[in-house]
Protein backbone atom coordinates (compact mmCIF):
# COMPACT_ATOMS: atom_id res chain seq x y z
CA UNK A 1 0.00 0.00 0.00
CA UNK A 2 1.50 3.30 -1.04
CA UNK A 3 -0.62 6.04 0.35
CA UNK A 4 1.56 8.76 -1.13
CA UNK A 5 0.83 7.65 -4.66
CA UNK A 6 -2.83 8.61 -4.53
CA UNK A 7 -2.46 11.86 -2.55
CA UNK A 8 -6.08 11.74 -1.51
CA UNK A 9 -6.87 13.52 1.71
CA UNK A 10 -9.23 12.05 4.24
CA UNK A 11 -12.80 13.21 4.66
CA UNK A 12 -13.39 15.77 7.37
CA UNK A 13 -15.37 15.20 10.55
CA UNK A 14 -18.30 17.32 9.37
CA UNK A 15 -18.77 14.90 6.49
CA UNK A 16 -18.54 11.78 8.68
CA UNK A 17 -20.35 12.77 11.86
CA UNK A 18 -21.96 16.22 11.70
CA UNK A 19 -23.20 16.01 15.33
CA UNK A 20 -19.75 15.79 16.87
CA UNK A 21 -18.15 19.03 17.99
CA UNK A 22 -14.45 19.06 17.23
CA UNK A 23 -13.32 21.21 20.15
CA UNK A 24 -14.15 21.93 23.76
CA UNK A 25 -16.05 25.21 23.99
CA UNK A 26 -13.87 28.12 25.17
CA UNK A 27 -13.82 28.30 28.96
CA UNK A 28 -15.70 25.02 29.37
CA UNK A 29 -14.06 22.44 31.71
CA UNK A 30 -11.67 25.15 32.96
CA UNK A 31 -13.08 25.00 36.49
CA UNK A 32 -12.78 21.21 36.55
CA UNK A 33 -9.21 21.40 35.25
CA UNK A 34 -7.99 24.02 37.73
CA UNK A 35 -9.92 22.54 40.64
CA UNK A 36 -8.56 19.04 40.06
CA UNK A 37 -4.97 20.28 39.77
CA UNK A 38 -5.21 22.54 42.85
CA UNK A 39 -6.94 20.03 45.14
CA UNK A 40 -4.82 17.16 43.81
CA UNK A 41 -1.54 19.00 44.45
CA UNK A 42 -2.75 19.89 47.94
CA UNK A 43 -3.68 16.30 48.82
CA UNK A 44 -0.44 14.88 47.39
CA UNK A 45 1.67 17.42 49.26
CA UNK A 46 -0.20 16.83 52.55
CA UNK A 47 0.51 13.14 52.06
CA UNK A 48 4.13 13.71 51.11
CA UNK A 49 4.91 16.00 54.04
CA UNK A 50 3.46 13.47 56.46
CA UNK A 51 0.52 15.53 57.68
CA UNK A 52 -1.34 12.97 59.84
CA UNK A 53 1.02 10.37 58.41
CA UNK A 54 4.39 8.81 58.97
CA UNK A 55 5.95 7.58 55.73
CA UNK A 56 5.22 10.32 53.23
CA UNK A 57 7.93 9.59 50.67
CA UNK A 58 6.83 5.95 50.31
CA UNK A 59 3.17 6.97 50.12
CA UNK A 60 4.09 9.42 47.40
CA UNK A 61 5.97 6.70 45.51
CA UNK A 62 2.87 4.46 45.70
CA UNK A 63 0.72 7.19 44.18
CA UNK A 64 3.33 8.30 41.68
CA UNK A 65 4.03 4.85 40.27
CA UNK A 66 0.31 4.15 40.07
CA UNK A 67 -0.36 7.29 38.02
CA UNK A 68 2.86 7.06 35.99
CA UNK A 69 1.74 3.59 34.83
CA UNK A 70 -1.42 5.16 33.41
CA UNK A 71 0.48 7.96 31.64
CA UNK A 72 3.08 5.57 30.21
CA UNK A 73 0.53 3.05 29.01
CA UNK A 74 -1.31 5.88 27.24
CA UNK A 75 1.89 6.14 25.18
CA UNK A 76 1.87 2.36 24.70
CA UNK A 77 -1.78 2.49 23.58
CA UNK A 78 -1.01 5.22 21.04
CA UNK A 79 1.92 3.28 19.57
CA UNK A 80 0.16 -0.08 19.49
CA UNK A 81 -2.72 1.48 17.50
CA UNK A 82 -0.25 2.91 14.99
CA UNK A 83 1.79 -0.26 14.57
CA UNK A 84 -1.32 -2.36 13.97
CA UNK A 85 -2.89 0.44 11.89
CA UNK A 86 -6.01 -0.02 13.95
CA UNK A 87 -9.25 1.52 12.75
CA UNK A 88 -11.56 1.12 15.73
CA UNK A 89 -9.52 3.20 18.15
CA UNK A 90 -8.91 6.39 16.17
CA UNK A 91 -11.52 8.48 17.99
CA UNK A 92 -10.22 7.28 21.40
CA UNK A 93 -6.57 7.81 20.46
CA UNK A 94 -6.55 11.60 20.85
CA UNK A 95 -7.49 11.21 24.52
CA UNK A 96 -4.54 8.84 25.02
CA UNK A 97 -2.25 11.26 23.15
CA UNK A 98 -3.38 14.05 25.45
CA UNK A 99 -2.59 11.86 28.46
CA UNK A 100 0.95 11.32 27.15
CA UNK A 101 1.20 15.11 26.94
CA UNK A 102 1.37 15.09 30.76
CA UNK A 103 4.72 13.23 30.79
CA UNK A 104 6.85 16.41 31.11
CA UNK A 105 4.77 17.23 34.21
CA UNK A 106 5.35 13.68 35.46
CA UNK A 107 9.07 14.54 35.40
CA UNK A 108 8.25 17.58 37.55
CA UNK A 109 6.26 15.36 39.90
CA UNK A 110 9.30 13.08 40.21
CA UNK A 111 11.13 15.79 42.21
CA UNK A 112 9.63 14.75 45.60
CA UNK A 113 11.02 11.26 45.01
CA UNK A 114 14.50 12.71 44.41
CA UNK A 115 14.03 14.84 47.53
CA UNK A 116 12.96 11.79 49.55
CA UNK A 117 15.56 9.54 47.95
CA UNK A 118 17.18 8.41 51.21
CA UNK A 119 13.82 7.53 52.78
CA UNK A 120 12.92 5.29 49.85
CA UNK A 121 16.16 3.91 48.44
CA UNK A 122 18.33 4.17 51.54
CA UNK A 123 18.75 0.39 51.71
CA UNK A 124 21.19 0.39 48.83
CA UNK A 125 22.43 3.97 48.97
CA UNK A 126 23.87 3.85 52.48
CA UNK A 127 27.36 5.26 52.84
CA UNK A 128 30.14 2.66 52.93
CA UNK A 129 27.81 -0.20 52.06
CA UNK A 130 30.29 -1.35 49.39
CA UNK A 131 33.34 -0.95 51.60
CA UNK A 132 34.51 -4.41 52.82
CA UNK A 133 35.96 -2.88 55.99
CA UNK A 134 32.85 -0.94 56.95
CA UNK A 135 30.46 -2.21 59.63
CA UNK A 136 27.45 -2.14 57.32
CA UNK A 137 29.22 -3.82 54.36
CA UNK A 138 26.81 -5.83 52.21
CA UNK A 139 28.45 -8.21 49.74
CA UNK A 140 25.30 -8.60 47.62
CA UNK A 141 24.78 -4.86 47.27
CA UNK A 142 28.49 -4.35 46.63
CA UNK A 143 28.14 -6.75 43.72
CA UNK A 144 25.18 -4.79 42.35
CA UNK A 145 26.77 -1.40 42.94
CA UNK A 146 27.92 -0.88 39.36
CA UNK A 147 24.23 -0.62 38.47
CA UNK A 148 22.65 0.37 41.78
CA UNK A 149 24.50 3.57 42.58
CA UNK A 150 23.12 7.04 43.02
CA UNK A 151 24.83 8.65 40.01
CA UNK A 152 23.77 6.03 37.46
CA UNK A 153 20.29 5.98 39.02
CA UNK A 154 19.79 9.65 38.17
CA UNK A 155 21.33 9.25 34.70
CA UNK A 156 18.75 6.55 34.05
CA UNK A 157 15.91 8.79 35.28
CA UNK A 158 17.04 11.24 32.60
CA UNK A 159 17.25 8.56 29.90
CA UNK A 160 13.78 7.15 30.65
CA UNK A 161 12.08 10.54 30.61
CA UNK A 162 13.98 11.59 27.49
CA UNK A 163 12.65 8.50 25.67
CA UNK A 164 9.09 8.92 26.94
CA UNK A 165 8.80 12.65 26.33
CA UNK A 166 10.36 12.39 22.86
CA UNK A 167 8.00 9.59 21.80
CA UNK A 168 4.96 11.27 23.35
CA UNK A 169 5.74 14.57 21.63
CA UNK A 170 6.36 12.90 18.27
CA UNK A 171 3.04 11.02 18.19
CA UNK A 172 0.97 13.85 19.66
CA UNK A 173 2.41 16.56 17.42
CA UNK A 174 2.16 14.53 14.21
CA UNK A 175 -1.41 13.58 15.03
CA UNK A 176 -2.27 17.25 15.65
CA UNK A 177 -0.51 18.19 12.40
CA UNK A 178 -2.74 15.70 10.58
CA UNK A 179 -5.82 17.55 11.89
CA UNK A 180 -4.79 20.40 9.56
CA UNK A 181 -3.40 18.62 6.52
CA UNK A 182 -5.26 15.28 6.50
CA UNK A 183 -2.12 13.80 4.98
CA UNK A 184 -2.18 9.96 5.11
CA UNK A 185 1.64 9.97 4.86
CA UNK A 186 1.72 11.12 8.48
CA UNK A 187 -0.12 7.93 9.50
CA UNK A 188 2.44 5.85 7.62
CA UNK A 189 5.28 7.75 9.29
CA UNK A 190 3.84 7.20 12.78
CA UNK A 191 3.28 3.53 11.98
CA UNK A 192 6.97 3.16 11.08
CA UNK A 193 8.22 4.98 14.19
CA UNK A 194 5.89 2.96 16.45
CA UNK A 195 7.96 -0.22 15.96
CA UNK A 196 11.28 1.00 17.39
CA UNK A 197 9.26 3.20 19.74
CA UNK A 198 7.58 0.16 21.30
CA UNK A 199 10.95 -1.53 21.70
CA UNK A 200 12.33 1.50 23.53
CA UNK A 201 9.16 1.73 25.58
CA UNK A 202 9.33 -1.93 26.65
CA UNK A 203 12.95 -1.60 27.78
CA UNK A 204 12.50 1.73 29.52
CA UNK A 205 9.34 0.80 31.47
CA UNK A 206 10.96 -2.50 32.52
CA UNK A 207 14.08 -0.84 33.87
CA UNK A 208 12.09 2.02 35.39
CA UNK A 209 10.06 -0.56 37.35
CA UNK A 210 13.31 -2.24 38.43
CA UNK A 211 14.83 1.08 39.50
CA UNK A 212 11.90 2.75 41.20
CA UNK A 213 9.95 -0.13 42.74
CA UNK A 214 12.04 -3.30 42.81
CA UNK A 215 15.14 -1.55 44.22
CA UNK A 216 13.18 -0.63 47.37
CA UNK A 217 14.14 -4.19 48.32
CA UNK A 218 17.58 -4.27 46.68
CA UNK A 219 18.39 -7.87 47.56
CA UNK A 220 15.47 -9.28 45.69
CA UNK A 221 15.19 -9.72 41.93
CA UNK A 222 12.58 -10.83 39.42
CA UNK A 223 12.96 -10.58 35.66
CA UNK A 224 9.20 -10.54 35.06
CA UNK A 225 8.74 -7.56 37.38
CA UNK A 226 8.61 -4.92 34.65
CA UNK A 227 5.89 -6.80 32.80
CA UNK A 228 3.71 -7.11 35.89
CA UNK A 229 4.03 -3.36 36.39
CA UNK A 230 3.15 -2.74 32.76
CA UNK A 231 0.15 -5.12 32.86
CA UNK A 232 -1.34 -3.37 35.89
CA UNK A 233 -0.60 0.03 34.37
CA UNK A 234 -2.23 -0.74 31.03
CA UNK A 235 -5.30 -2.13 32.77
CA UNK A 236 -5.54 1.08 34.80
CA UNK A 237 -5.01 3.23 31.73
CA UNK A 238 -8.00 1.54 30.08
CA UNK A 239 -10.10 1.94 33.23
CA UNK A 240 -9.15 5.62 33.43
CA UNK A 241 -9.85 6.17 29.71
CA UNK A 242 -13.29 4.59 30.04
CA UNK A 243 -14.16 6.80 33.01
CA UNK A 244 -12.77 10.05 31.55
CA UNK A 245 -14.35 9.60 28.12
CA UNK A 246 -17.69 8.64 29.70
CA UNK A 247 -17.54 11.79 31.80
CA UNK A 248 -16.71 13.95 28.76
CA UNK A 249 -19.49 12.16 26.91
CA UNK A 250 -21.94 13.12 29.65
CA UNK A 251 -20.80 16.73 29.18
CA UNK A 252 -21.95 16.56 25.57
CA UNK A 253 -18.62 15.87 23.89
CA UNK A 254 -17.68 12.94 21.64
CA UNK A 255 -21.34 11.89 21.19
CA UNK A 256 -21.33 9.03 18.66
CA UNK A 257 -17.57 9.39 18.09
CA UNK A 258 -16.95 7.29 21.24
CA UNK A 259 -19.96 5.04 21.63
CA UNK A 260 -20.93 1.70 23.17
CA UNK A 261 -18.81 -0.15 20.62
CA UNK A 262 -15.66 1.67 21.73
CA UNK A 263 -16.48 1.20 25.41
CA UNK A 264 -17.05 -2.49 24.73
CA UNK A 265 -13.60 -2.79 23.13
CA UNK A 266 -11.88 -0.78 25.87
CA UNK A 267 -13.65 -3.00 28.39
CA UNK A 268 -12.46 -6.15 26.60
CA UNK A 269 -8.86 -4.88 26.67
CA UNK A 270 -9.17 -3.92 30.34
CA UNK A 271 -10.52 -7.39 31.11
CA UNK A 272 -7.71 -9.11 29.22
CA UNK A 273 -4.95 -7.07 30.86
CA UNK A 274 -6.51 -7.70 34.26
CA UNK A 275 -6.02 -11.40 33.47
CA UNK A 276 -2.53 -10.72 32.06
CA UNK A 277 -1.57 -9.06 35.37
CA UNK A 278 -2.72 -12.22 37.16
CA UNK A 279 -0.84 -14.40 34.70
CA UNK A 280 2.46 -12.59 35.11
CA UNK A 281 2.13 -12.34 38.88
CA UNK A 282 1.33 -16.01 39.19
CA UNK A 283 4.25 -16.87 36.89
CA UNK A 284 6.50 -14.94 39.26
CA UNK A 285 4.99 -16.49 42.38
CA UNK A 286 4.97 -20.05 41.00
CA UNK A 287 8.71 -20.09 40.16
CA UNK A 288 9.71 -18.57 43.49
CA UNK A 289 7.47 -20.96 45.42
CA UNK A 290 8.69 -23.98 43.46
CA UNK A 291 12.43 -23.25 43.68
CA UNK A 292 12.13 -22.15 47.32
CA UNK A 293 15.41 -20.22 47.41
CA UNK A 294 15.75 -17.94 50.46
CA UNK A 295 17.02 -14.96 48.44
CA UNK A 296 13.79 -15.01 46.44
CA UNK A 297 11.22 -16.21 48.96
CA UNK A 298 12.11 -13.49 51.47
CA UNK A 299 10.17 -11.05 49.28
CA UNK A 300 6.98 -13.01 49.83
CA UNK A 301 7.83 -13.62 53.48
CA UNK A 302 7.66 -9.87 54.05
CA UNK A 303 4.34 -9.87 52.31
CA UNK A 304 2.82 -12.27 54.82
CA UNK A 305 3.65 -9.98 57.77
CA UNK A 306 2.07 -6.80 59.14
CA UNK A 307 -1.26 -7.53 57.49
CA UNK A 308 0.14 -7.81 53.95
CA UNK A 309 -0.94 -11.46 53.73
CA UNK A 310 -4.54 -10.25 53.86
CA UNK A 311 -3.80 -7.75 51.09
CA UNK A 312 -2.21 -10.50 48.97
CA UNK A 313 -5.44 -12.48 49.26
CA UNK A 314 -7.46 -9.33 48.63
CA UNK A 315 -5.48 -8.79 45.40
CA UNK A 316 -6.21 -12.33 44.18
CA UNK A 317 -9.92 -11.71 44.76
CA UNK A 318 -10.13 -8.00 43.87
CA UNK A 319 -7.61 -7.95 41.01
CA UNK A 320 -8.73 -11.25 39.47
CA UNK A 321 -11.55 -13.44 40.81
CA UNK A 322 -14.22 -10.77 41.29
CA UNK A 323 -13.57 -8.70 38.13
CA UNK A 324 -13.22 -11.91 36.10
CA UNK A 325 -16.74 -13.00 36.98
CA UNK A 326 -18.12 -9.46 36.96
CA UNK A 327 -16.72 -8.32 33.60
CA UNK A 328 -16.86 -11.64 31.74
CA UNK A 329 -20.26 -11.02 30.18
CA UNK A 330 -20.56 -8.96 27.01
CA UNK A 331 -23.69 -7.35 28.45
CA UNK A 332 -21.83 -5.93 31.46
CA UNK A 333 -19.06 -4.48 29.27
CA UNK A 334 -21.71 -2.77 27.11
CA UNK A 335 -23.72 -1.54 30.12
CA UNK A 336 -23.49 2.18 30.85
CA UNK A 337 -23.23 1.54 34.59
CA UNK A 338 -21.62 -1.92 34.73
CA UNK A 339 -18.45 -0.94 32.88
CA UNK A 340 -17.63 2.23 34.89
CA UNK A 341 -18.22 0.33 38.15
CA UNK A 342 -15.68 -2.25 36.96
CA UNK A 343 -13.30 0.54 35.90
CA UNK A 344 -13.44 2.26 39.32
CA UNK A 345 -12.76 -1.08 41.01
CA UNK A 346 -9.75 -1.64 38.73
CA UNK A 347 -8.27 1.75 39.64
CA UNK A 348 -8.67 1.02 43.35
CA UNK A 349 -6.98 -2.39 43.17
CA UNK A 350 -4.22 -0.80 41.08
CA UNK A 351 -3.46 1.45 44.07
CA UNK A 352 -3.59 -1.60 46.37
CA UNK A 353 -1.20 -3.42 44.01
CA UNK A 354 1.29 -0.53 44.20
CA UNK A 355 1.07 -0.58 48.01
CA UNK A 356 1.68 -4.32 48.02
CA UNK A 357 4.77 -3.91 45.81
CA UNK A 358 6.34 -0.94 47.58
CA UNK A 359 5.29 -0.66 51.22
CA UNK A 360 6.27 -4.04 52.75
CA UNK A 361 9.85 -3.59 51.49
CA UNK A 362 9.99 0.11 52.24
CA UNK A 363 8.43 0.13 55.70
CA UNK A 364 10.10 -2.94 57.15
CA UNK A 365 13.46 -2.34 55.56
CA UNK A 366 15.32 -3.24 58.74
CA UNK A 367 14.01 -6.79 58.50
CA UNK A 368 14.69 -6.84 54.78
CA UNK A 369 18.14 -5.42 55.19
CA UNK A 370 19.21 -7.69 58.00
CA UNK A 371 18.64 -10.76 55.86
CA UNK A 372 15.74 -12.94 56.87
CA UNK A 373 16.51 -13.01 60.56
CA UNK A 374 13.91 -10.51 61.67
CA UNK A 375 11.13 -11.62 59.42
CA UNK A 376 11.62 -15.33 59.95
CA UNK A 377 11.87 -14.84 63.70
CA UNK A 378 8.55 -13.04 63.59
CA UNK A 379 7.02 -15.95 61.68
CA UNK A 380 8.52 -18.46 64.12
CA UNK A 381 7.13 -16.54 67.08
CA UNK A 382 3.69 -16.79 65.59
CA UNK A 383 3.76 -13.01 65.45
CA UNK A 384 2.39 -12.85 61.93
CA UNK A 385 0.64 -9.59 62.61
CA UNK A 386 -1.84 -10.70 60.02
CA UNK A 387 -5.38 -9.71 59.29
CA UNK A 388 -6.96 -6.54 58.04
CA UNK A 389 -6.46 -4.76 61.38
CA UNK A 390 -2.70 -5.20 61.10
CA UNK A 391 -2.82 -3.74 57.59
CA UNK A 392 -4.75 -0.70 58.80
CA UNK A 393 -2.20 -0.22 61.57
CA UNK A 394 0.64 -0.43 59.01
CA UNK A 395 -0.57 2.04 56.38
CA UNK A 396 -1.76 5.60 56.71
CA UNK A 397 -4.26 7.67 54.74
CA UNK A 398 -1.63 8.97 52.33
CA UNK A 399 -1.12 5.49 50.85
CA UNK A 400 -4.48 6.07 49.20
CA UNK A 401 -4.43 9.87 49.40
CA UNK A 402 -1.30 10.38 47.28
CA UNK A 403 -2.67 8.10 44.55
CA UNK A 404 -6.01 9.92 44.52
CA UNK A 405 -4.32 13.34 44.67
CA UNK A 406 -1.85 12.60 41.87
CA UNK A 407 -4.65 11.02 39.81
CA UNK A 408 -6.58 14.28 40.19
CA UNK A 409 -3.53 16.26 39.07
CA UNK A 410 -3.10 13.90 36.13
CA UNK A 411 -6.78 14.24 35.20
CA UNK A 412 -6.53 18.04 35.40
CA UNK A 413 -3.41 18.13 33.22
CA UNK A 414 -5.07 15.78 30.72
CA UNK A 415 -8.12 18.07 30.60
CA UNK A 416 -5.78 20.98 29.96
CA UNK A 417 -4.39 19.17 26.94
CA UNK A 418 -7.88 18.07 25.86
CA UNK A 419 -8.99 21.71 25.82
CA UNK A 420 -5.99 22.75 23.72
CA UNK A 421 -6.44 20.24 20.91
CA UNK A 422 -9.27 18.84 18.86
CA UNK A 423 -11.26 16.18 20.69
CA UNK A 424 -10.61 13.49 18.09
CA UNK A 425 -8.12 13.19 15.19
CA UNK A 426 -10.31 15.11 12.76
CA UNK A 427 -8.74 14.00 9.50
CA UNK A 428 -7.18 10.66 10.30
CA UNK A 429 -7.76 8.43 7.27
CA UNK A 430 -9.35 5.78 9.50
CA UNK A 431 -11.69 8.09 11.43
CA UNK A 432 -14.76 7.02 9.48
CA UNK A 433 -13.92 3.37 10.16
CA UNK A 434 -13.59 4.17 13.85
CA UNK A 435 -16.90 6.01 14.20
CA UNK A 436 -18.85 3.46 12.18
CA UNK A 437 -17.31 0.30 13.57
CA UNK A 438 -19.42 -2.34 15.32
CA UNK A 439 -18.72 -5.43 17.41
CA UNK A 440 -20.49 -8.33 15.76
Amino acid sequence: MTATATQTTARSLSQIAPNVTSRVKAGDLATAQNGLIAVGVLIALLGYFEVFGHHGALSYLVGYMGVLGIALCALFFTMIQHITRAGWSVSVRRLAENMTGTLPFMLLMFIPIIYGFDDIYGHWAHANITDPNAANYDAVLAGKSSYLNKEFFFVRVGIYFAIWIALATFFRQNSIKQDESGDPALSMKMSRVAAPGLLLFALSITFAAFDWIMSVDPHWFSTIFGITYFAGGFMSFLAFTILLSMWLNSKGYYKEAINTEHYHDLGKLMFSFMIFWTYTNFSQYMLIWYANLPEETQWFTHRTLHGWGTIGTALIIGHFAFPFVFLLSRNVKRHKLGLPIGAVAMLLVHCLDMQFLILPSGLHGAEAHGGDGGALAAVADGDHGNGFGAYLATIDWADYGCFIGLLMVFTGLTLMNVRRTNLIPLRDPRLSESINFENF
Binding site: Y285, M286, W289, Y290, E438
Partner: protein
Protein backbone atom coordinates in the same frame (compact mmCIF):
# COMPACT_ATOMS: atom_id res chain seq x y z
CA UNK B 1 -42.22 -38.72 -0.29
CA UNK B 2 -45.52 -36.98 -0.82
CA UNK B 3 -46.46 -35.24 2.36
CA UNK B 4 -48.74 -32.30 2.89
CA UNK B 5 -46.55 -31.06 5.72
CA UNK B 6 -45.17 -27.71 4.68
CA UNK B 7 -41.72 -26.71 5.97
CA UNK B 8 -41.90 -23.09 4.89
CA UNK B 9 -41.49 -20.56 2.11
CA UNK B 10 -38.15 -19.60 0.59
CA UNK B 11 -37.42 -16.53 -1.55
CA UNK B 12 -34.30 -15.60 -3.51
CA UNK B 13 -32.62 -12.19 -3.55
CA UNK B 14 -29.72 -11.02 -5.69
CA UNK B 15 -27.72 -8.81 -3.34
CA UNK B 16 -26.81 -8.32 0.31
CA UNK B 17 -28.55 -4.94 0.29
CA UNK B 18 -31.81 -6.31 -1.09
CA UNK B 19 -31.96 -9.20 1.42
CA UNK B 20 -31.13 -6.78 4.24
CA UNK B 21 -34.09 -4.55 3.36
CA UNK B 22 -36.31 -7.59 2.80
CA UNK B 23 -35.44 -8.81 6.29
CA UNK B 24 -36.45 -5.43 7.72
CA UNK B 25 -39.87 -5.76 6.05
CA UNK B 26 -40.28 -9.38 7.19
CA UNK B 27 -39.64 -8.39 10.80
CA UNK B 28 -41.92 -5.36 10.50
CA UNK B 29 -44.68 -7.66 9.19
CA UNK B 30 -44.38 -9.66 12.42
CA UNK B 31 -42.75 -12.90 11.27
CA UNK B 32 -40.51 -14.50 13.91
CA UNK B 33 -39.53 -17.98 12.64
CA UNK B 34 -37.25 -16.61 9.92
CA UNK B 35 -33.76 -17.22 8.67
CA UNK B 36 -31.38 -15.81 6.08
CA UNK B 37 -28.99 -17.93 4.02
CA UNK B 38 -26.10 -16.03 2.43
CA UNK B 39 -22.81 -16.88 0.67
CA UNK B 40 -20.87 -14.74 3.16
CA UNK B 41 -21.68 -13.15 6.55
CA UNK B 42 -23.87 -10.08 6.05
CA UNK B 43 -23.30 -7.95 9.15
CA UNK B 44 -26.44 -6.84 10.94
CA UNK B 45 -28.83 -9.45 9.51
CA UNK B 46 -29.15 -11.17 12.89
CA UNK B 47 -30.19 -7.87 14.48
CA UNK B 48 -32.69 -7.06 11.72
CA UNK B 49 -34.25 -10.53 12.01
CA UNK B 50 -34.28 -10.14 15.83
CA UNK B 51 -32.44 -13.42 16.31
CA UNK B 52 -32.28 -14.27 20.02
CA UNK B 53 -28.84 -14.13 21.68
CA UNK B 54 -27.00 -17.43 21.48
CA UNK B 55 -26.96 -19.51 24.64
CA UNK B 56 -23.55 -20.91 23.72
CA UNK B 57 -21.74 -18.59 26.16
CA UNK B 58 -23.54 -20.08 29.15
CA UNK B 59 -22.75 -23.58 27.94
CA UNK B 60 -19.05 -22.68 27.63
CA UNK B 61 -19.00 -21.14 31.13
CA UNK B 62 -20.51 -24.33 32.57
CA UNK B 63 -17.93 -26.45 30.72
CA UNK B 64 -15.14 -24.21 31.99
CA UNK B 65 -16.19 -24.52 35.62
CA UNK B 66 -16.63 -28.27 35.19
CA UNK B 67 -13.02 -28.35 33.96
CA UNK B 68 -11.83 -26.45 37.04
CA UNK B 69 -13.65 -28.82 39.41
CA UNK B 70 -12.55 -31.97 37.55
CA UNK B 71 -8.90 -30.88 37.51
CA UNK B 72 -8.92 -30.06 41.22
CA UNK B 73 -10.59 -33.36 42.08
CA UNK B 74 -8.16 -35.28 39.89
CA UNK B 75 -5.07 -33.72 41.45
CA UNK B 76 -6.42 -33.99 44.97
CA UNK B 77 -7.22 -37.67 44.38
CA UNK B 78 -3.86 -38.53 42.85
CA UNK B 79 -1.51 -36.33 44.90
CA UNK B 80 -3.11 -36.19 48.32
CA UNK B 81 -5.50 -39.12 48.72
CA UNK B 82 -4.74 -42.16 46.63
CA UNK B 83 -0.93 -42.07 46.58
CA UNK B 84 0.50 -39.05 48.41
CA UNK B 85 4.12 -38.23 47.55
CA UNK B 86 6.11 -35.49 49.22
CA UNK B 87 8.27 -33.70 46.65
CA UNK B 88 10.90 -31.14 47.74
CA UNK B 89 9.08 -30.37 50.96
CA UNK B 90 5.86 -29.24 49.30
CA UNK B 91 2.54 -30.43 50.64
CA UNK B 92 1.00 -33.27 48.60
CA UNK B 93 -1.86 -31.02 47.50
CA UNK B 94 -0.38 -27.52 47.32
CA UNK B 95 -2.54 -25.01 45.44
CA UNK B 96 0.18 -23.21 43.44
CA UNK B 97 1.16 -26.45 41.72
CA UNK B 98 -2.45 -27.13 40.69
CA UNK B 99 -3.06 -23.83 38.89
CA UNK B 100 -1.48 -24.65 35.49
CA UNK B 101 -3.33 -27.98 35.17
CA UNK B 102 -6.58 -26.39 36.35
CA UNK B 103 -6.16 -23.64 33.77
CA UNK B 104 -5.49 -26.15 30.98
CA UNK B 105 -8.48 -28.33 31.91
CA UNK B 106 -10.71 -25.25 31.98
CA UNK B 107 -9.51 -24.24 28.49
CA UNK B 108 -9.83 -27.79 27.14
CA UNK B 109 -13.39 -28.32 28.31
CA UNK B 110 -14.41 -24.78 27.30
CA UNK B 111 -13.00 -25.33 23.82
CA UNK B 112 -14.67 -28.69 23.40
CA UNK B 113 -17.88 -27.25 24.81
CA UNK B 114 -17.76 -24.35 22.34
CA UNK B 115 -17.24 -26.59 19.28
CA UNK B 116 -19.63 -29.41 20.15
CA UNK B 117 -22.11 -27.04 21.78
CA UNK B 118 -22.23 -25.09 18.51
CA UNK B 119 -22.90 -28.36 16.66
CA UNK B 120 -25.64 -29.34 19.10
CA UNK B 121 -27.37 -25.94 19.06
CA UNK B 122 -27.29 -25.98 15.23
CA UNK B 123 -28.55 -29.61 15.28
CA UNK B 124 -25.51 -30.73 13.33
CA UNK B 125 -24.44 -32.98 11.80
CA UNK B 126 -27.43 -33.71 9.59
CA UNK B 127 -27.46 -35.18 6.14
CA UNK B 128 -30.45 -33.39 4.72
CA UNK B 129 -32.42 -30.21 5.19
CA UNK B 130 -35.84 -29.44 3.63
CA UNK B 131 -34.56 -26.18 2.17
CA UNK B 132 -32.39 -28.17 -0.27
CA UNK B 133 -35.62 -28.85 -2.21
CA UNK B 134 -35.68 -25.23 -3.43
CA UNK B 135 -34.87 -25.08 -7.13
CA UNK B 136 -32.02 -22.50 -7.00
CA UNK B 137 -30.72 -23.07 -3.44
CA UNK B 138 -27.39 -24.36 -4.79
CA UNK B 139 -26.50 -20.74 -5.61
CA UNK B 140 -26.46 -19.90 -1.88
CA UNK B 141 -22.75 -20.77 -1.87
CA UNK B 142 -22.16 -18.62 -4.92
CA UNK B 143 -24.03 -15.39 -5.62
CA UNK B 144 -27.59 -15.55 -4.31
CA UNK B 145 -29.21 -14.72 -0.97
CA UNK B 146 -32.17 -16.64 0.44
CA UNK B 147 -34.76 -15.75 3.02
CA UNK B 148 -36.91 -18.43 4.61
CA UNK B 149 -40.07 -18.21 6.73
CA UNK B 150 -40.92 -21.46 8.45
CA UNK B 151 -44.38 -23.04 8.68
CA UNK B 152 -44.13 -23.08 12.47
CA UNK B 153 -44.38 -19.27 12.45
CA UNK B 154 -47.71 -18.22 13.99
CA UNK B 155 -48.31 -15.80 11.12
CA UNK B 156 -47.50 -18.38 8.45
CA UNK B 157 -50.00 -18.96 5.69
CA UNK B 158 -48.51 -20.51 2.56
CA UNK B 159 -50.44 -18.36 0.07
CA UNK B 160 -50.26 -15.05 1.94
CA UNK B 161 -46.62 -15.50 2.93
CA UNK B 162 -45.68 -16.38 -0.64
CA UNK B 163 -47.38 -13.29 -1.98
CA UNK B 164 -45.80 -11.17 0.70
CA UNK B 165 -42.30 -12.38 -0.20
CA UNK B 166 -42.96 -11.75 -3.90
CA UNK B 167 -44.23 -8.29 -2.97
CA UNK B 168 -40.98 -7.32 -1.24
CA UNK B 169 -38.87 -8.28 -4.24
CA UNK B 170 -38.21 -12.01 -3.77
CA UNK B 171 -37.58 -14.11 -6.88
CA UNK B 172 -38.28 -17.85 -7.22
CA UNK B 173 -40.56 -17.85 -4.17
CA UNK B 174 -41.36 -21.51 -3.47
CA UNK B 175 -43.30 -23.38 -0.83
CA UNK B 176 -41.07 -26.13 0.54
CA UNK B 177 -42.54 -29.45 1.70
CA UNK B 178 -41.12 -31.21 4.70
Amino acid sequence: MTSNNKWGVVAEFDSATSIYHACEKVTAEGYTRTDAHTPFPVHGLDKVLKQPESGLGWLVVCCGFTGIILAQLMMWWMNAYDYPIWVSGKQPYAWPSTIPITFEMMILLSGLGAVFGMFALNRLPRLHHPIFAHSTIHRVTDDRFFLSIEATDPKFDSQATMQFLQGIGGANVEVIED
